[in-house]
Amino acid sequence: MKTVSNDSVYDVIIIGGGATGAGTARDCALRGLKVLLIERHDIATGATGRNHGLLHSGARYAVTDRESAEECIKENMILKKIARHCVEKTDGFFLTLPEDDLGYQKTFIEACRAAGIEAEAVDPKEALIAEPSANPTITGAVRVPDGSVDPFRLTSANIIDAKLHGAHILVYSEVTDFIFDNDRVVGVKVRDHVSGEETNRYGNIIVNAAGIWGAGIVRKAGISINMFPAKGSLLIFGHRVNNVVLNRCRKPANADILVPGDTICVIGTTSDRVPYDTIDDMRVTPEEVDLLLSEGMKLAPSLEHTRIIRAYAGVRPLVAMDDDPSGRNISRGIVLLDHETRDGVKGLISITGGKLMTYRLMAEMATDLVCAKLGVSAKCVTATEPLPGSRNDSPEEISDRMSSVYANPMRSSAGRHGDMAKSISHDTEYDLSLVCECEDVSLGEVEYAIENLDVHNLVDLRRRTRVGMGTCQGELCACRAAGLLAKAHGCASKAVADLRNFMNERWKGMYPVSWGETLRENEYTLWVYAGVCGMNRKSEDKPEAKSECKSKGKSVKKEGNHEI
């Protein structure tokens, strides 16, 4: 085991690279702390990347959970300022269908207003003019300030800013154990999944921000948190059917939110308790797909004829109250646990529960506690300090300034990277040639992401650029991008293996909806990748190359842990 020398004792080590962990890393770094964040996979791969992408106004919780509603609307207004390039102000409608009780609308509007959420009843006819995709039989509509948010961009911007303020970020690195000094946690053992290497990392305070995986993390320190994984499944449609978020005006239930985002829309979610040991392998069932479709069609009937691109599922980290081991009394609110006072384990805190919308507030609460423990008095500035990408101009202004005849790829990259898109080279026609034709991703943007945004594989690249996220789900662009990765990382056989994994990762979201256009698309994909490329011939059929790469070009492997 390699230990890291004393000079790298961190003030704080954060476990988990979702929105909460990234936000906490940023907040701690902005307050002058020496920060290390450790993430098992890539950033935003847990629940952060597997939800609606809804910028809640809080209206959904107004009647049933006033506290959450108030938190949501506050954070909603903050994110609209600090994360402009991640957010789209679409507004939302809460629709009353003939089968719903119109009387609920009054209760709903009153509860919204009491929580500080603007809510205004709109004549159904006018609502249908504003949002023609909505069910024409609606008997009522209420407009609220919902929006959409890109969770990956949001997490990435937090990571980028944390790094700008000195934070160290380790991805593909897993915390395997805690290091104790008597009753104090003083560090963690880390396994680098790329190099296989194990190291010790030392910190004064360890923050567990691992979402649903957090229960497993603290168990390694002998601590129990009573968590209840709740699986939520969603469907992505290939068109942006609606421009305004559509909700049902009734008590929250299954499949009652349709959120537009970029060129697509998302219906969700289901909600089912699942065993803790299944949280690493969430798969959407045909029954869930059928439910999402039938309920979604009630909000927007045209979904019946809209192509479904993928199905996916995430796991909410629901936490039971400490005095309730049965789990009946579940909170959806923020849970901040000081394991020193709760469990007698010093140096360890957990921040969990909550939702994507409140990630910044959760980060602020966790950082406040860290600072209190370290005796640091710096105040939180994350509610007012814009994130990288939203500091200068709006994405529209940026793409206008970069404008030329090749407007589309530039506009797309400005949309994805905000004011950081200025660093993308679009100088030559080579830079402008398209890698992904569905999502208008240029070669310049792919090379920018590989160089600057910590891309280790095609899935990482997809999260950063949307390569392979369009209707074709990577048919041509995946192979093009694999070629560019092979060039950048100097290893072709690894890139081919990565390409195979990437196509399988795309399939995971497609097979639950494999009929109609999705099945056609998949058959084509199979003809190309299994047929033409021969990827369905098992390794024993032919001599297999272990990904032993001669040191051509620059290597992806770095010394020690896999730091980005």
Binding site: S433, S493, R500, G534, N536
Partner: protein, 420 residues
């Protein structure tokens, strides 16, 4: 409009069937919606390289003995298969499509990701080898067109280096090619091939590559030459003292499209009618299950009538089959389709495992008569990938089934005539 035979679908199977019928004087009409599987071809035809249980097949005619009785090859029968397998190279040569390879033994081809895959017969652009390896002493120059992203020389090099060969990669920048870039999505195989079809662009390329040669024993180019004619292929080969090969690109496939065009031209040159860009959208059947006529989108009320009809509409991608969440249907005639009921059983969660849905297709008799409501349709035969009972990707039998069933159904239609 009256024909002897109307063939619905103008891909490999439909064209082969049409040519074979037209050759013996049958008046044929092919209705083609447009692109076919040849447009994303590997450049090689496969016939059978793996049995359903996973056993590798070296000698396709031997392997066929182990296939289930409902497999199209089993329906054709061993003797006829032997005859058809031997006849294939000659048939394509007559159409102006030279093929290489030993029809009795599978060889290997080089895939775009640098793997050696089993293959039966190949278009003459490509090379086939007996074993999945190249000469370890080989020194190979791999040439790409600068900025062309659908060909990855590094993947090819990694594949060849596994057998010990030494590879060097260059990318050639050609002035004429740079003009394609005025549109960011123009660097596709077919557009590049159009530019390379110009003599002066090719000579620029040849002289650029000649200067780069440093005693290599072979040159590999992406297969983006000769959209119109394969004379360009031999011309490039003759321009170098070194051996020249072409390697498969990601789609679209220039050699595949050239082959599609050649087959179509040949079909038309011997008197066939090829209706491109039209779709058969309805059919009229008599009470005794006989097709009376079919109608197309473009011809509206004007019907196509024939003694015999051949369904060569392909599988899901070509819309020969349609899948809804509950069932799988054949859209033109509403034929019976063989598939498993619950959609959970249509797929495997591993993309590259055997996908059951690939083996779904229309029900047929041993004579490939299509079946509707449990009754065979006397004058409607199905060929190619609209058929069920075989898994083209798992077995490596897509092109083989297209060609063999086309031969067989053409013979059945010819024999019927002789009986009459």
């Amino acid at each position: 409009m009256r024909f002897d035979t109307v063939i619905i679908g103008g891909g490999l199977s439909g064209l082969v069937c049409g040519i074979k019928l037209q050759k013996v004087g049958k008046k044929c009409c092919i209705v083609s919606a447009g692109q076919s599987a040849l447009h994303f071809s590997s450049g090689a035809f496969d016939i059978l390289d793996r049995l359903p249980d996973g056993t590798s097949v070296r000698h396709p005619l031997e392997g066929m003995r182990h296939l289930p009785s409902t497999h199209p090859y089993s329906r054709i029968g061993q003797d006829r298969m032997k005859e058809y397998v031997s006849a294939t190279t000659g048939f394509f040569a007559d159409c102006g499509v030279p093929l290489c390879g030993n029809p009795l033994v599978n060889s290997y081809r080089l895939s775009p990701t640098g793997d050696f895959c089993p293959a039966w017969l190949s278009l003459s652009d490509f090379f086939l080898i007996d074993e999945p390896a190249v000469d370890p002493g080989a020194r190979i120059l791999i040439v790409n067109i600068f900025g062309y992203l659908d060909f990855n020389p590094a993947f090819i090099a990694a594949g060849l280096e596994k057998s010990g060969a030494t590879c060097r990669i260059i990318a050639v920048k050609l002035d004429e090619m740079e003009r394609l870039r005025s549109n960011p999505s123009e660097m596709r195989a077919t557009n590049i091939a159009k530019v390379l079809d110009k003599d002066y662009v090719r000579s620029e390329l040849v002289s650029a590559v000649s200067k780069e040669l440093k005693g290599e024993s072979a040159i590999i180019f992406p297969a983006v030459f000769g959209l119109e004619s394969d004379s360009v292929i031999s011309e490039i080969r003759n321009s170098f003292d070194t051996k020249v090969h072409f390697a498969t690109t990601m789609p679209p496939s220039v050699p595949g499209i050239r082959t599609q065009r050649k087959l179509r031209k040949h079909f038309e040159s011997i008197g066939g009618t090829y209706l491109l860009g039209d779709t058969v959208d309805r059919a009229e059947l008599s009470d005794d299950n006989t097709v009376l006529s079919v109608g197309t989108v473009n011809f509206g009320d004007l019907k196509l009538t024939a003694d015999d009809y051949v369904l060569a509409t392909g599988s899901f991608f070509s819309k020969g089959l349609c899948a809804s969440p509950e069932k799988i249907t054949e859209p033109v005639f509403g034929l019976d389709v063989d598939y498993v009921a619950d959609r959970k059983n249509w797929y495997d969660t591993d993309l590259f495992a055997t996908q059951n849905y690939i083996s779904f297709g229309v029900s047929v008799t041993d004579d490939f008569q299509a079946v509707k409501d449990g009754r065979p349709i006397r004058n409607l035969h199905a060929i190619g990938s609209v058929l069920g009972g075989y898994n083209a990707l798992q077995e490596g039998s897509g092109a083989g089934t297209a060609i063999m069933t086309a031969f067989r159904v053409a013979d059945i239609i010819i024999e019927k005539e002789e009986k009459r």
